[in-house]
């Protein structure tokens, strides 16, 4: 178990270094930020001065070594636009994205698990087929389109829910969060649903496949032989078995949920990291883009790691097997 986790940790560090290289050179290619930082009518001397201040006059490899050196100290540069350190800037936008992703995840489980279990239970009937057909829409409809449709229905037509912004926030552990205030929660519902739709389809499929497999197992037949109701068999015996793979996959998907948030946040003007990224790309705010990409990688790594640990805790069989290896 410990050996396994240490090995995973080493892999993660390797991935991190590889990502640093890719990100730095990738972003370096996308244009000269000086064009944006300096007004077109600046004198050549001013241009040179600015270049020197940001270190753009140095050769690429020197810039890269400096970048690595600073990055190891947690410094990914200052935003050209906001003047703040990029990492700090992103972290201040992060809570909004995380709470959105989390609520999205909760929605996708709440929608996907019941639908999937039911579809697996009625696999050969029209109900099961209808749910599966429906899940194809969840996969194929583009995020921004779903978002706009939801805005159109629930915000414009029915006027039930607000469509843009964060609403009231509450300070929890030093972070401003909407999820703990009734007003803020209202603002979260539509973007979180938009974000959840794709994952809900995924969860539906996973839950259906898991349910179908579980229903063929002897322990389900034995549960029936004990005289348990079908509901109890599905909700306790089947669910407990299929939640392990679902949680694993969902945990891994939390990262891509944050990535997906880019589009959703833009549609709903949700002030999270995703929106910050889009804004930074339009202004070529290089340090923010780099910091965003690096932080995303770190988040992915942390998530994968946590999932491994949770998985071990959830499945009593893995605990033992893990100890043996």
């Amino acid at each position: 178990m410990l050996v396994f986790l240490l090995r995973r940790l080493a892999q993660s560090v390797f991935v991190l270094i590889a990502m640093m290289i890719v990100v730095f050179f990738g972003v370096y290619m996308i244009g000269n930020p000086v064009d944006i930082l300096i007004s077109p009518d600046a004198t050549p001397l001013e241009v040179e001065e600015t270049m020197a201040r940001f270190g753009f006059d140095q050769p690429v490899h020197i810039q890269f070594l400096k970048f690595i050196g600073n990055a190891l100290q947690g410094d990914l540069g200052r935003s050209f636009v906001h003047g703040e350190p990029a990492v700090q800037l992103i972290l201040s936008y992060m809570p909004a994205t995380l709470e959105l992703a989390l609520l999205g995840l909760i929605f996708s489980v709440m929608i996907g698990v019941p639908l999937g279990v039911y579809a697996g239970y009625k696999a050969d009937r029209w109900q099961g087929r209808a749910i599966m057909t429906g899940s194809i829409f969840g996969f194929s409809l583009p995020n921004f389109w779903v978002g706009m449709l939801l805005i159109l229905i629930f915000a414009v037509e029915l006027r039930w829910l607000p469509s843009t912004g964060r609403g009231e926030t509450v300070e929890v552990l030093g972070m401003r969060l909407s999820i703990f205030s009734a007003d803020g929660l209202q603002y979260m519902i539509l973007p979180a649903l938009t974000l959840a739709l794709y994952k809900a389809s995924l969860v539906t499929r996973l839950a259906r496949a898991g349910t179908q497999e579980a229903l063929m197992q002897d322990y389900v037949k034995f549960a029936r032989a004990k005289g348990l109701s079908e509901t109890r068999i599905l909700v306790v015996h089947v669910l407990k078995n299929i939640m392990i793979p679902i949680i694993t996959v969902l945990g891994l998907e939390l990262g891509s949920m944050i990535a997906f948030a880019v589009v959703t946040e833009t549609v709903f003007a949700w002030p999270g990291m995703g929106k910050l990224l889009i804004d930074s790309i339009t202004t070529l705010d290089r340090p923010v883009i780099v910091a965003y990409l690096m932080l995303t990688v770190i988040i992915f790594i942390i998530i994968n790691f946590t999932v491994d640990v949770i998985y071990t805790l959830l499945d009593p069989r893995v605990r033992v097997r893990g100890e043996a290896t």
Binding site: Y219, K221, A225, K226, G227, L228, K240, N241, R317, V320
Partner: protein
């Protein structure tokens, strides 16, 4: 009145390869406290017979004919809800594979308590109490502590004891025990056999003991039914059938038991292979492997005939006492 009366049971599987008559006209009956041994090779339809009684035959299988009367009630006429209230309560079943029957992610406590509370309005604590008592009865040491364990923390033998305990939980009138000891080693096997037999005697529970091993039946069952290719080919009181088998197949099964028959005789195997259930011969299903076969056997299938008190036989040329001596 008998506890269970099965008449001409037919359970067929409708597969792509054709209709498999897994159970084809099986009849037997059981009184309270009586033990029936249901014996036959692999694939002869023993498990399917058991599942048919509980109405738990999986698709593409279906009970297509016959009657199952449980304490005077035709089970086919019960609603799903009524049937469920019998399962695990009045009729219990112990499955063949102890490794697969318990849910791997639920504690033993959960799996036992739910079995009690599915049928009785009792508190969790009361159900747990009962679970502890029954676990102790089937020989699980310190049952109160073991309740918190998961199935994988038990050995195969212990798991099978738990499965047996679950079957006993609600004091059923009938237990279908599907080869519950084959996966275990011989000493544990006989230990469990003795315990279950004693429990059945005490409580008046009728028992169907499914096995492919006639030797197991010898010490345990009051009567046996020998199954071949979905049919009962011979039935009768255990001692009679074992000492004077009438059907060549029963004789063959006896011949493959060590220690049975005269000393110095070699163990005999039944020649040939278990039949392909999807394409049985027109006549007697045992004909391709039978040493007494003739044209009659190949032309049509023998019907079951009574050959004495409580003895039935499905064969045109049964082995008779005098002939055996000659």
């Amino acid at each position: 009145m008998s506890v269970l009366d099965v008449r001409d049971l037919q359970t067929h599987f409708f597969t792509d390869a054709g209709v498999v008559k897994a159970v084809d006209g099986v009849s037997f009956s059981l009184d309270a406290g009586e033990v029936l041994g249901l014996v036959g090779e692999s694939g002869s339809g023993k498990s399917v017979t058991g599942f048919s009684i509980l109405r738990l035959v999986d698709a593409p299988g279906r009970v297509v004919g016959g009657q199952i009367n449980f304490k005077g009630q035709d089970l086919a006429t019960l609603s799903n809800r009524e049937m469920r209230s019998l399962r695990g309560n009045r009729i219990a079943m112990i499955f063949q594979d102890p490794m697969m029957t318990l849910n791997p992610v639920l504690r033993i406590e959960t799996q036992m308590v739910e079995a009690v509370r599915a049928h009785h309005r009792v508190s969790h604590a009361a159900a747990k109490d009962r679970a502890i008592r029954v676990l102790a009865r089937v020989g699980i040491p310190s049952p109160a502590d073991r309740l918190a364990a998961y199935p994988h923390q038990f050995s195969g033998g212990m798991r099978q004891r738990v499965a047996i305990a679950i079957a006993l939980l609600n004091g059923p009138d009938l237990i279908v025990a599907d080869e519950p000891t084959t996966a275990l080693d011989v000493t544990i096997q006989s230990q469990i056999l003795a315990e279950v037999q004693e429990l059945a005697r005490e409580t008046g529970t009728a028992l169907i003991w499914i096995t492919h091993d006639l030797a197991v039946v010898a010490g345990l069952a009051d009567k046996v039914s020998v199954m071949y290719a979905g049919r009962i080919v011979e039935s009768g009181p255990t001692d009679d059938v074992l000492t004077a088998p009438g059907h060549p197949y029963t004789e063959g099964l006896l011949g493959s038991i060590p220690g049975h028959g005269r000393r110095g005789e070699r163990l005999t195997q039944i020649p040939g292979m278990a039949p392909n259930m999807a394409r049985l011969p027109v006549g007697c299903a045992f004909a391709p492997r039978c040493h007494r076969v003739d044209e009659t056997c190949r032309a049509k299938a023998p019907a079951i005939t009574d050959i004495g008190p409580k003895r039935g036989l499905r064969c045109f040329h049964p082995i008779v006492e005098t002939e055996g001596a000659a």
